[in-house]
């Protein structure tokens, strides 16, 4: 059990790689960089696999029990010194450990993160071969792996938050990898700051949990949540879960914090694949799934999660319909798929959500890597309008991407079919059909997904070649280091879904069974509360198989096929200046979608203040300007107003600041006192008899005072 007992080592491998890169990377050869950076991830993957298998043995002996290990106390003292008062007035220790936890949920994440991560590392050796800052890139990637693994393996919220922020940082660094591009650095900033907004919610959520439960360790929180001490619908837990969900929204790009993810495509493509598709963005899902014990106690939060998820799904999918940048389409697709996952979580189908994360990891990574391969082949061109007819030139890419497209479109028996179908079915059946409207949204989204994905495929690989001649001349299939991962991922995209082959189709749904220990208690809670409809997926399946399920299954496959067909009709022969069907049918809708509902602009006007509304700057920068103005004028102020009033009223030109900035408290008194001291100086106009007169006045005054006292 060595490997299980030392799971804390897993994040350290990539951390070591990152440290080596940052300290010595500049002097290292590319081969060495490859060896170190890919090596550590491979080691981490193998370590994870063995640890996972050992955990399976451990779980046999201790059914339902996660494996936990504490390395050291991180925040707080372990000498009982720092206590705080819980909501009920009892003391609790302020203490956070660096502790790790392995259970089925984190095991699944662990495996696909290290696995996909490994593949993407390998892929990157090829993709990035000709880029500057090679070591830097791999250092960031390794750092990312470290953070992600910390996030997954943490046994408490705070350590999870460490990974959470860490992946955000790495995302920032990697988006800004091409830092000399202004758009890249702006996108990086955007990603970090939007994530920070979510993180703020996460932080507050954590504080709420700590205040309410007295601990931030998952097992403690779950234990207390299961203890029946807290009623369903407890407002504090609702608040806590909503706050956590804000965090999830930021990280997993849900409405309204999704805006950073499309921009994040400024990063190198492997980064998009690893971070912005397969792993990091699913952290929100992971966190919500991890907190399932809390969420089930807060139906309002669940409902919110479901609704936000569904809305995000259709919102992003609709934007994806008309985008021309190959990576952007995939980015919106990712946002949309993440919406699906949250929809699943929100309706209580935790297993389904996790399952979709799992399958999505493979096919979305594959899609991104494939698109990377396309871009590689196209000498950096990303606009699909300038592609076409690539299927013969880069066949491996073509075929692997097609597999992924089938998967995402939900065509059986590819992976996506199982997970997406599960989600839609659970949505339909939850709460006795209370979520049917969400199912409708999900269904339409499925249709759109199929359409835009096949649109992407046709525009890229079929139709007429629309690129320029030089580009055409250079088109070549990618090196083996890139195609290898593509093939592996393609295999996974086909097979991964089989793990969750549903009972209705004669399978055993091993996936759900495996996750059972994590979510089983929630099913009990639901049952106890008489909300049988919201049962966790794994539980419900075994009870009965409704004929409706087959109908829905058929419908969703139908959606995939219809989408395929529509795309085939519209784009199979796309030549230069091809027509967009939506633009033809409803130009305003096309414009709206093409401009992404103008959300970025709206944010810039309203929240960031990067753009002015008329002459007024709103948002944070507006506040900043107002505060600066306030600081310069009011706080630092103007008592000297009298002399300066006229100028003040004049123009807002440069000297204004200079004069006004110095003020109320320092220059103010100085000038004021000069004014005030004038009478004192008048008393001293140098005439001796005046002095004598003042003295006599003084004497007269004193005598008068005493006379009339």
């Amino acid at each position: 059990m060595f490997f299980l007992f030392h799971i804390w080592l897993i994040p350290l491998f990539p951390a070591f790689g990152a440290a080596v890169m940052f300290c010595f990377g500049r002097k290292l050869q590319k081969q060495t960089v490859n060896a170190v950076c890919v090596g550590v991830v491979v080691v981490a993957f193998l370590f994870s696999c063995i640890a996972f298998s050992q955990y399976l043995g451990y779980a046999r002996d201790n059914p339902g029990k996660p494996y936990q290990t504490t390395v050291y106390t991180w925040l707080g003292t372990d000498t009982g010194g720092m206590n705080f008062v819980k909501y009920d007035g009892t003391p609790a220790a302020f203490q956070t450990d660096v502790g790790f936890l392995l259970d089925p949920l984190s095991g699944i994440w662990l495996l696909f993160v290290t696995g996909v991560g490994m593949l993407i590392h390998i892929y990157s050796t090829g993709y990035m071969a000709h880029e500057g800052g090679y070591y830097r890139f791999f250092g960031y990637l390794n750092l990312f792996m470290f953070s992600m693994l910390t996030l997954i393996l943490a046994n408490n919220y705070v350590l999870m938050f460490v990974g959470w922020e860490g992946v955000g940082l790495c995302s920032y660094l990697l988006i800004g990898f091409y830092f000399h591009r202004h758009s890249a650095s702006t996108a990086a900033n955007k990603a970090f700051i939007v994530n920070r907004i979510g993180d703020a919610g996460f932080l507050l959520g954590m504080f709420t949990i700590a205040w309410y439960f007295g601990s931030l360790r998952f097992t403690d929180v779950n234990h207390l949540a299961h203890s029946g001490h807290f009623a369903i619908g407890d407002p504090v837990i609702t608040a806590a879960t909503l706050l956590l969900f804000i965090g999830a929204c930021g990280k997993s790009a849900q409405l309204p914090l999704y805006v950073w993810l499309p921009d994040a495509m400024e990063g190198p493509t492997p980064v998009s694949a690893l971070i912005h598709a397969a792993t990091m963005v699913t952290a929100g899902v992971y966190m919500v799934a991890r907190s399932n014990a809390l969420f089930v106690l807060a139906p309002t939060s669940m409902k919110t999660v479901a609704i936000v998820g569904a809305l995000t799904a259709i919102f992003a999918a609709s934007i994806g319909l008309v985008q021309n940048d190959i990576k952007r389409v995939l980015a919106y697709s990712t946002v949309s798929q993440l919406g699906y996952m949250f929809l699943a979580l929100g309706v209580g189908a935790f297993t389904a959500g996790v399952f979709h994360v799992f399958t999505h990891a493979f096919f979305k990574a594959l899609l991104f890597l494939g698109s990377g391969s396309v871009i590689h082949a196209m000498s950096g061109e990303q606009d699909m309008r300038n592609m076409g007819d690539l299927h013969k030139r880069i066949p491996i890419t073509h075929w692997t991407m097609f597999i992924a497209t089938f998967a995402i479109a939900g065509i059986p028996p590819f992976a996506g079919f199982f997970s997406k179908d599960e989600i839609l079915w659970q949505t339909w059946s939850s709460e006795h059909g209370a979520y049917i409207h969400l199912w409708v949204i999900g269904y339409v989204t499925a249709l759109m997904t199929a359409f835009y994905m096949f649109r992407l495929m046709f525009l890229t690989f079929h139709g007429r070649a629309r690129m320029s001649h030089e580009v055409e001349h250079h088109i070549h299939e990618s090196p083996k280091s890139m195609t290898g991962p593509l093939i592996v991922l393609a295999l996974c995209s086909i097979c991964a879904g089989w793990l969750g082959w549903p009972h209705s189709l004669g399978g055993s749904d091993r996936f759900a069974k495996f996750l059972n220990p994590v979510f089983a208690k929630e099913a009990e809670v639901f049952r106890a509360e008489g909300k049988g409809g919201q049962l966790a997926a794994g539980e419900k399946e075994e009870e009965h198989t409704s004929p409706i399920e087959y109908g829905l299954m058929f419908l969703s496959v139908g959606a995939g096929v219809v989408g395929w067909g529509m795309a085939w009709r519209a784009y199979r022969n796309a030549d230069k200046g091809y027509a967009e069907p939506i633009a033809a049918a409803a130009p305003p809708v096309y414009d709206l979608l093409y401009n992404k509902y103008y959300v970025d602009e709206a944010y810039d006007y309203a929240f960031t203040g990067r753009r002015k509304v008329g002459d007024v700057r709103l948002g944070v920068m507006g506040l900043g300007e107002a505060s600066s103005w306030f600081d310069a004028n009011v706080i630092d102020g103007t008592v000297n107003a009298a002399g300066w009033m006229t100028r003040l009223a004049g123009t807002l030109s440069s000297w204004w600041d200079k004069w006004i900035i110095d003020g109320l408290l320092v220059n103010g008194p100085a000038v004021l006192s000069r004014i005030v001291s004038y009478p004192v100086r008048i008393l001293q106009w140098g005439l001796v008899q005046w002095y004598a007169l003042v003295m006599v006045f003084g004497l007269v005054g004193f005598v008068a005072y005493y006379a009339w006292r």
């Binding site: 005439l687 007169l693 006599v696």
Partner: protein, 169 residues
């Protein structure tokens, strides 16, 4: 020596004193002022005599009227006052100054009227004889040290006057 016609002499002498005081501060010609002052000092010496202070009266006449005023007259001659005599004699603040002084005087007067009873009750115990002798005893007794210091004061005054007035020391 019993006082005779006290009331008359008092009003007469004090009238002269005050009048000459007024003259001192109103004359254009500084010499006239000085002469008026001398007159006033003499009248005051008369008042001292009425107050049984013959020694002080003598000092007043000899030292003040005789000594100090001569010094004044010398200086008036020394600094050419022809020009000053023709100019405006009062400064620009004279009205304010006058008012302030009159206010002060009014207050003093009011105070004396209100609290003067203090000084009307004690009727003088005339110390007639050997006034000079007793003053001498006091000067060399009680006030011996002050007397010595006063001599230094005069010395310093001499040094000062010399230092200031002499062209080259």
């Amino acid at each position: 020596m019993q006082p005779v016609a006290t009331t008359f002499f008092f009003y007469f002498l004090s009238g002269i004193t005050v009048l000459s005081g007024i003259l001192v501060i109103t004359r254009n010609n500084a010499v006239h002022s000085a002469l008026a002052l001398i007159l006033g000092l003499l009248a005051q010496a008369g008042l001292y005599l009425m107050l049984y202070a013959p020694f002080v009266a003598g000092v007043q006449i000899i030292l003040y009227a005789g000594g100090i005023m001569v010094l004044f007259l010398f200086v008036i001659m020394l600094v050419n006052l022809e020009r000053a005599q023709k100019e405006e004699q009062f400064n620009k603040q004279w009205l304010v100054g006058l008012l302030a002084a009159v206010a002060l005087g009014g207050l003093l007067f009011a105070v004396y009227v209100k609290g003067g009873t203090l000084f009307t009750e004690h009727i003088a115990q005339p110390v007639e004889n050997s006034n000079t002798q007793q003053i001498g005893v006091m000067l060399y007794g009680n006030y011996m040290f002050a007397f010595e210091i006063a001599s230094l004061l005069l010395l310093v005054a001499i040094i000062g006057a010399v230092v200031m007035a002499k062209k080259r020391i």
